[in-house]
């Protein structure tokens, strides 16, 4: 039978890894939306100035 303590540590380590991955994913998503917004704003501003 496997040791419950080491099993618990393995689950904790896996959960920490998953949490970090979710954090990185969400951060990347926020940055992506921010950069896309700036790109569209910039394009619209250029279009308005040329009119």
């Amino acid at each position: 039978m496997s040791d419950p303590k080491s099993e618990n540590a393995a689950f904790r380590k896996a959960r920490t890894g998953r949490n970090i991955a979710i954090f990185v994913g969400l951060l990347a998503f926020v940055i992506l939306v921010f950069v896309i917004t700036l790109t569209h704003l910039g394009a619209n501003a250029l279009a308005t100035n040329t009119l």
Partner: protein, 315 residues
């Protein structure tokens, strides 16, 4: 000050090992995703429309995530048959590392995000094509065709063929003939590619009750159909050189690669050797990669013949 305690972690019932983040990445089928990224990028570049690097990156990212989402949905639905096959039983869901419901949730979430971002940031045509691609792979291929007919990968191959059209639509907002020509090449390439693999893993498919061509119609019929599809694919792959999509480099690669492809398919048909099936499978990947790399390289380098002609007139 009270000490913060971490709640006791208990393994999920049925889970033999804890799910690591790498298991969720594996649900997205990263190797399939890499081919999708490459063909979509080629479609995007071949459209020859100036696009902001941010939006180009976003489009390719959305296509990649959409492909990953359909992979996760496929692994959720097919967990029962994946568990019966040597090639797939180590996947996260059948191996018990990730619960089926989690794979489903990941697939649905990523589908919504990839299509939503594509629609909001790039354009609606690209988003609609991406949504159709995910639907076609996850529902039409995985749920309807895979267990029902030996034509499963012929029809289902459309899902894997669409990324260049999505990329082209993302860049230009339209999908002209040349975009669909790229789709047609991948569509016709899929049966000989996949059947060559299934010839070497037909025992697996038989055990799982999946009517892949070698299981349903026999190996001789499969080898004949591989040859017939190859005879259609090779001239089709030469067509971009006539429609202003491919240049001389592409034409050379398509011609030489096509001759080699036909030779390997003919040898498999005559010799009935499984080693030839493996060889054809490996070569088919190289062939498709070389075709799209030639298109991508020519367009990035400005070596397209029609473009050179236009520049000469302009100069």
């Amino acid at each position: 000050m009270s000490k913060t305690t971490t709640p006791e972690l208990t393994p999920i019932a049925g889970a033999a090992v804890p799910a690591r983040w790498q298991d969720y990445v594996q649900l997205l089928k990263p190797r399939v995703m890499s081919l999708v990224i490459f063909t979509a990028l080629t479609g995007l570049v071949c459209a020859n429309v100036p696009l902001s690097p941010v939006l180009a990156f976003t489009a390719v990212l959305c296509i990649a995530v959409g492909a990953g989402a359909s992979g996760a949905l496929n692994m959720w639905y097919d967990a029962d048959i994946d568990a019966l096959m040597r090639r797939t039983r180590g996947r996260p869901v059948p191996a018990g590392r990730v619960q089926g419901a989690d794979a489903l949730a990941l697939g649905l979430t990523l589908s919504l995000f990839s299509v939503g971002i594509m629609g909001l940031a790039v354009n609606l045509l690209a988003a609609a094509l991406l949504a159709f691609t995910i639907f076609f792979y996850a529902v039409v291929y995985t749920m309807w065709l895979k267990r029902a007919t030996p034509q499963n990968i012929v029809i289902g191959g459309l899902a894997g063929a669409l990324p260049p059209a999505v990329g082209w639509a993302a860049a230009s907002g339209s999908t002209p003939l040349n975009a669909w020509l790229m789709v047609a090449i991948i569509f016709m390439w899929t049966p000989p590619h996949f059947w060559a693999l299934s010839l070497t893993t037909s025992d697996d498919y038989e055990r799982a009750g999946v009517p892949m061509m070698p299981v349903a119609k026999g190996e001789a019929s499969t080898r004949l159909q591989i040859l017939l599809y190859t005879l259609v694919l090779v001239p089709l792959a030469l067509a971009p050189a006539c429609t202003g999509l491919g240049g001389p480099v592409y034409l050379g690669i398509a011609a030489l690669g096509g001759v080699a492809f036909i030779a390997l398919a003919a040898r498999l048909f005559v010799r009935k050797d499984r080693a030839d099936a493996k060889r054809l499978f490996g070569f088919s990947i190289l062939y498709l990669f070389a075709l799209f790399a030639a298109l991508l390289g020519e367009h990035l380098a400005g070596l397209h013949p029609l473009r050179l002609l236009a520049l000469r007139f302009l100069g």
